[in-house]
């Protein structure tokens, strides 16, 4: 996306500005805490301590972060192609369906290391398929991808509710969820890694999916910056006209990008379903797809940034749960506000402070912003 602004040094662009935006988001969140009648500084201390103070906290933080790495990568891959995939939520939900089908039919015959790869493929395939239809409609019929993916989130929710109160529910059960998986579909925990560092863990759901998420982050980096396909996606994202001129097929690139995005979203379901709950329940995604938007924006669409942002959000989720114990006035919904503020300040208002910082840089050293005349361009 073109911006009518001049350049800043890279460290300011990728470090300083996101940091300022993030700080403003947290300052505003602090005001909300004050409005509720609590001390924001004490809240912040409890939050950080809850997330990183104990081994169990760290494990939970990384467990949540795993989920957000997947959804953040999903949003980012599409965004590199200038497609706004709001459908991560629905794609992850349908990915859960793929996992359920694999686990329910194979968990009594195969061990986890045999089921896991099959489940990965199934989750990715189902998620990709749910991304395919909006992608096709965007590429071939020009339907706006934002609207179609929102619609597909709702359709996915209806489909899953229909299946979970019907075909997938074991006979005689009241709860709208599948039966619990057998040991064959339970992923090994990773808590021993944290215990290596001497921390004690009671029980936390951190599992092998965390490693899968890191591998995926690396693969996404490889895809976007080191392959021809990634180059084509970025070209299309930067200027569809230039891409067309260069002979890049619009249909192919949109559909490929959205299917990769959908596949990453679908894989997110592995973490809660096979790593923690061991069943597929109604609304198990519970907004993680939308968190992915905040994570991708905050991570500036770069896998390293996304992993860091995901850990930050994992911290908010885990610390937020602790916070709800200590300060009853602040429930976990506080995170939803913070998430919204992050999206607002790091996403929609990302250029708000830019002119000021530019002016500051220009007054200190005009060369650093590539300007000869200091008053060359206003905001």
């Amino acid at each position: 996306m073109s911006t009518p602004y001049t350049k800043l040094p890279a460290w300011a662009d990728y470090g300083l500005i996101p940091l300022i935006n993030l700080s403003v988001a947290f300052i505003v969140a602090g005001f909300v805490v004050m409005l509720v009648g609590e001390n924001p500084f004490r809240a912040a201390v409890i939050l950080v301590d809850g997330a990183f103070g104990k081994g169990t906290g760290i494990a939970f933080t990384l467990f949540y972060a795993t989920t957000f790495i997947f959804t953040g990568l999903s949003v980012a891959v599409a965004a590199h192609c200038s497609l706004f995939n709001i459908g991560t939520e629905g794609q992850a939900y349908i990915g859960g369906l793929g996992i359920a089908l694999v686990c329910l039919s194979l968990d009594s015959v195969l061990p986890w290391w045999a089921i896991f790869p099959i489940a990965i493929v199934a989750a990715a395939a189902f998620g990709a398929l749910w991304g395919l239809i909006p992608a096709y409609l965007q590429a071939k019929r020009g339907s706006h991808i934002v609207i179609t993916t929102i619609m597909f989130n709702f359709i996915a929710a209806s489909v899953m509710v229909y299946l979970l109160v019907g075909a997938l529910k074991p006979a005689g059960s009241q709860a709208p969820q599948t039966r619990n998986f057998l040991a064959g579909a339970e992923l090994p925990k990773l808590n021993w890694i944290i215990e290596l560092f001497g921390a004690k863990i009671r029980s936390a759901p951190l599992n092998i999916c965390f490693l899968l998420a890191l591998v995926m982050a690396f693969l996404v980096w490889l895809l976007i910056w080191r392959t021809r396909l990634g180059y084509e996606m970025r070209t299309y994202g930067h200027s569809p006209k230039a891409a067309r001129y260069a002979g890049i097929s619009e249909t192919r690139i949109i559909i490929t990008a959205m299917m990769i995005s959908g596949a990453l979203a679908g894989m997110m379901a592995l973490n809660p379903v096979m790593g923690d709950q061991h069943n597929v329940a109604i609304d198990f995604v519970s907004g993680a797809g939308y968190v992915g938007i905040a994570v991708a924006l905050m991570g500036r669409l770069h896998p390293v940034g996304i992993v860091l942002a995901a850990i930050l959000f994992g911290m908010l989720y885990q610390g937020g749960a602790e916070l709800a114990f200590e300060m009853p006035a602040i429930s976990r919904d506080m995170i939803v506000i913070i998430q919204g503020l992050v999206i607002l300040f790091a996403g929609a208002l990302e250029h708000m402070f830019r002119p000021y910082i530019q002016a500051l840089f220009a007054s200190v050293s005009p060369k650093s912003v590539g300007m000869q005349a200091v008053n060359g361009k206003g905001a």
Partner: protein, 323 residues
């Protein structure tokens, strides 16, 4: 006769259920016609509902409730404007942000202020908008056919219902018969031309967003002060998105918007009424299918299989003045 009464009842709840959709849909029409995508209808409705119910409960007045709902909703619309007009941010990102802030803050503040698990106190009759019984409704009630239609369908709704339907011709008039409407449509199609004519693009778009805020505020107030006697968390439950779907379905036209909202409202009413009981010919229809139908229809429409939905041309693109 039973059949007829059942139909009247379904149509009556169709009207009640389509009012919030209609208000939100018209709200979206103002901003989208001015070239600002608004994913944040849902959030603005939600804060409207919360602010309305809270103020009505605290000040014991339905009117103060409505006023507060509109005020807060407009404030959120202005945040959207600040991000997407003044700072030329991504309009969809900004809308998503507003939805989150609304969803979180209504629960947090509701819990902090009223301590009822995110609910606001139950509203007394004086704090709500009561049904208006039209003259003669009681007398004519037992006349066959006309009686129930007049007494149930036309009479006996709250003032906000009539307001919502009155907004349809009013919006049409504003859009197609006033200078403001002409300029607003122009700014959604070709802002550069409007700018060349010496009219401020930003101010026009801000005004359109204020209209959006007012209508989403009323929609929210309807949810928490008419349909329900108080605010319940997440009470919009995706209505903002259905309204968005209806807006596309209506091809950004006010009268079409009314029919689209009535259709979606009818699907909702029918789903509630049927609750899994079998239909003639088709057989049993799952509730989830009826709930998903508005979204499916919108996707099919967007795909261009039922006519073509062409959005305002400058929609979603921040306006940058040529230098």
């Amino acid at each position: 006769m039973d059949m007829f009464n059942a139909i009247i009842q379904v149509l009556d709840s169709t009207i009640r259920l389509s009012v919030p959709l209609l208000l939100a849909c018209l709200a979206g029409l103002y901003s989208e016609r001015a070239g600002i995508f608004d994913i944040g209808l849902e959030g603005k409705m939600l804060v409207g509902a919360f602010a309305g119910a809270s103020a009505a409960a605290v000040f014991h007045s339905a009117l103060i409730g409505l006023g507060t709902a509109v005020l807060i909703s407009v404030a959120f619309a202005l945040v959207h404007g600040f991000a997407s007009i003044t700072h030329r941010g991504n309009q969809i990102v900004s809308g998503v942000a507003i939805n989150f802030i609304a969803a979180g803050s209504t629960i947090i503040l509701g819990q902090a202020w009223f301590q009822q698990g995110g609910r606001t106190p139950a509203l007394q009759p004086a704090e709500r908008f009561e049904a208006i019984i039209w003259p003669g409704a009681e007398a004519i009630k037992d006349v066959p056919i006309i009686g129930p239609i007049y007494a149930e369908l036309i009479s006996g709704h709250s003032i906000l219902v009539y307001f919502a339907f009155a907004m349809v011709p009013f919006t049409w008039w504003v859009l197609f018969r006033t200078r403001f409407g002409l300029r607003m449509r122009a700014v959604g199609e070709n802002p550069a031309a409007v700018d060349t004519a010496g009219i401020s693009v930003a101010w026009l778009r801000y005004r359109a967003l204020i209209c959006t805020g007012i209508l989403t505020g009323v929609a929210g107030a309807y949810l928490s002060m008419v349909q329900n006697g108080g605010f319940v968390k997440d009470m919009t439950a995706g209505k903002g998105y259905i309204a968005l779907a209806a807006l596309i379905f209506a091809k950004w036209k006010p009268v079409n918007a009314m029919f689209a909202c009535l259709l979606f409202g009818f699907l909702d009413a029918a789903a509630i009424r049927l609750q899994g009981s079998p239909l003639p010919i088709i057989g049993k229809v799952p509730v989830q299918f009826m709930q998903a139908l508005p979204y499916v229809l919108t996707v099919i429409l967007l795909a261009g299989f039922i006519g073509k939905a062409i959005p305002p041309r400058a929609g979603g693109v921040p306006y940058v003045k040529e230098r």
